[in-house]
């Protein structure tokens, strides 16, 4: 399962604070996970749980008032937290590609798609205009855009959403990256297009040994595409595990609740399990386990204490003291 080689991306104890007059600590707190080469890791959780902040912080794309105040982010040996602007520019769009949710607002509307893809090659690899253009055509072809020779010269608005997202992916893989960070890449797309995009990412992953960090809230996409899952809640990682055991035997009450809130085959027209309450806003996080006020298994004294990470089985980690001390077993519950 895990390889002896170092992971492409390793995040250790990442903590992000809001600085300035409205200072808030621990929007993201003590987040640790790895993305090994050739694997897809999902970052899941409800909105406001810090998954996008975590993903953005890897390339230091956080707005200025948000700061990484503790922890370490290492990409292929480079310390991203202390890296210079120059180093970062060399990494963004080069060895690390990014794909965002909304292709229309991420692509430059005044540039042809060919130029946008070529830009990455020219910037990172110093290719000439002509070389980069030829490569852009090849990349469009590779991401399954028919008629690539003609499409290099069209503008993003002339394409459908699915096509635009392919262009985003083409730009993200333009410099043969080692890691692609994709933030909700298929959320705005229809399911048939989503299936094609995931298929595309999968084949690129096989060909290039690409590591993928996928931010999503769609558990179907996770089940389909990802190898490992990192579950976040209110800025904490509550559970991380390979995909099969996570779905089959969730260890953390939050993961269990999340899985139970999804409509399932054979249970049509029945009431779904709902997690009571809502994610607390930053600044109002409870001490200890942040899920505790909404947790049906919470025991006040135990859950208000800091929650260390337990490893109930190899590779499966969970931050719940009650589960860690065998006081609570979710397998008996579900």
């Amino acid at each position: 399962m895990t390889q002896a080689t170092d992971p492409v991306l390793s995040v250790r104890g990442l903590t992000i604070d809001l600085v300035g007059p409205t200072r808030q600590r621990g929007l993201v707190e003590d987040v640790t996970f790895d993305v090994p080469q050739g694997r897809s890791v999902a970052l899941i959780g409800e909105s406001g749980c810090g998954k996008t902040l975590t993903a953005m912080s890897i390339l230091r794309l956080l707005p200025p008032e948000l700061r990484v105040t503790a922890g370490e982010i290492r990409f292929a040996g480079t310390d991203m937290v202390s890296a210079s602007g120059r180093t970062l520019r060399g990494i963004r769009g080069g060895p690390v590609g990014m794909v965002f949710q909304d292709p229309m607002s991420s692509l430059n509307p005044t540039m042809t798609v060919g130029d946008q893809i070529a830009e990455a090659r020219r910037l990172h690899l110093g290719e000439s205009r002509g070389q980069a253009r030829a490569k852009a055509r090849e990349l469009l072809d590779r991401v399954g855009i028919a008629n690539a020779a003609r499409r290099v010269d069209v503008y993003p608005f002339e394409m459908s959403g699915g096509m635009q997202q392919r262009v985003m992916i083409a730009a993200a893989i333009a410099c043969e990256p080692r890691l692609v960070i994709a933030d909700e890449p298929t959320t705005a797309l229809d399911v048939t297009i989503q299936a094609e995009i995931l298929e595309l990412l999968r084949s690129l992953q096989e060909q290039m040994g690409l590591a993928v960090l996928l931010v999503t809230h769609d558990l179907g996409v996770v089940a389909d595409f990802c190898d490992d899952v990192v579950v976040m809640y209110a800025g904490h990682v509550v559970e991380r595990a390979p995909v099969e055991p996570l779905f089959a035997r969730p260890r953390h009450p939050y993961t269990l609740a999340l899985l139970d809130s999804v409509p399932q085959a054979g249970r049509a027209r029945t009431m779904l399990d709902v997690i009571p309450g809502r994610v607390p806003p930053a600044g109002a996080f409870p001490t200890g386990c942040r899920f505790q006020p909404r947790c049906r298994f919470a025991v006040e004294q135990v859950c208000a204490a800091p929650q260390p990470e337990f490893e109930p089985e190899p590779g499966h980690r969970c931050r719940c003291v009650r589960v860690g001390t065998h006081e609570l077993s979710l397998e008996k519950v579900s």
Binding site: E196, E199, A223, A268, M271
Partner: protein, 334 residues
């Protein structure tokens, strides 16, 4: 279907075109056919799910059925009464029987008005009630499981899920016979979505209104609907009981659509075979000849370019528009 009891809503032959291009003096030179001969029916107390990809015309069809947009052709009946040409004060009365819930609860509520005003405004507009509006607001909010104290708040103070509950409460204020919900959960988070689905299910059980649920999310539709109609490029291509459509879809488009929806279970999902559709849906302003779907259809034959398939019953209550699907006789049906 024999119509012993009149349907809560029955629409036949709905057609709607929108002007796409005009010449110098404003005459329409090109039209786009958004809805092309669509039949919809919902029995009292039942739910019809309307699914399809973006651009399939599902939202337009729902708006035509709600009489929010007037159809170019077709006939609409509620409870057996023809209401196609109803205008003026009669239309206003009819509106009270057909209410809508929209996708985006952020833009559906007036930010300058209180929640209490939002839910009671229909009562004022329709002259149902002038006194004790506060009491009416409290009752409506309670019905959708919101704290009546929220009546004094403004939408901006509410979460997405709470806002959508307000929209549902407002739609229910006039006790409609048919509730038409267009993507009611698409803008919501996972756990919030479960809450809204439960709410819609419970309200229907309590009050017995019919419901048309428009969604691109098959899981949602499958969870709530008794019958499902699948739309592609302005047409209904398959229509039947929800469990038959989900378990044994017959139209190649429905099959592809269903196979593209990832199941939130990695062991099941990874064992599934996917029918990948290639290409985007064709331009609705210039649809293919014959069957609309043939350009992406994995089982298309030359005949499909000539014949425009009509919906026909292939088993009791299950209709399909495809020349390649055989009619099932009782013996061959498993």
């Amino acid at each position: 279907m024999t119509a012993r009891e009149p349907m809560a809503l029955q629409a036949t032959g709905l057609r709607k075109t929108f002007p796409l291009r005009r010449d110098l003096i404003g005459r329409v030179t090109e039209r786009i056919v958004a809805v092309d001969g669509v039949d919809l029916e919902v029995a009292r107390g039942a739910t019809l799910g309307l699914v399809g990809e973006s651009g399939s015309g599902k939202s337009t069809a729902a708006r035509l059925a709600a009489l929010l947009v007037r159809a170019d052709a077709g006939r609409i009946e509620t409870d057996g009464v023809d209401v196609t040409g109803v205008r003026g004060s009669q239309l206003k009365v009819l509106r009270s029987r057909l209410q809508m819930v929209f996708q985006d609860p952020y833009s559906a509520l007036d930010p300058t008005k209180t929640v209490g005003h939002a839910v009671t405004e229909p009562l004022i507009v329709h002259g149902r009630r002038q006194d004790d509006l506060a009491g009416a607001a409290a009752a409506l909010l309670t019905r959708v499981s919101l704290d009546p104290a929220l009546a004094r708040r403004r939408p901006e103070e509410l979460s997405g899920g709470q806002r959508q509950r307000v929209c549902v409460a407002r739609a229910l204020a006039l006790e409609p016979r048919v509730l038409i919900a267009d993507e009611p959960t698409s803008a919501l988070d996972l756990s919030t979505r479960a809450g809204i689905l439960n709410l819609l299910l419970r309200l229907q059980q309590e009050s017995g209104q019919a419901m048309i649920l428009v969604s691109h999310d098959f899981a949602t539709v499958q969870h709530l609907a008794d019958r499902i109609a699948v739309m592609y490029l302005g047409r209904v291509v398959e229509e039947g009981p929800a469990d038959r459509i989900v378990e044994a879809p017959l139209h190649p488009y429905t099959r592809a659509l269903l196979s593209a929806v990832p199941v939130p279970d990695p062991t099941v999902q990874r064992g599934r075979r996917r029918t990948v559709l290639h290409g985007d849906p064709p331009n609705p302003a210039n649809p293919p000849t014959g069957c609309n779907f043939r350009t992406r259809c994995p089982i298309a034959v030359p005949e499909c370019a000539q014949t425009d398939p009509a919906l026909r019953a292939v088993e009791p209550g299950h209709r399909v528009a495809c020349v390649r699907v055989e009619t099932k006789t009782p013996e061959t049906r498993s």
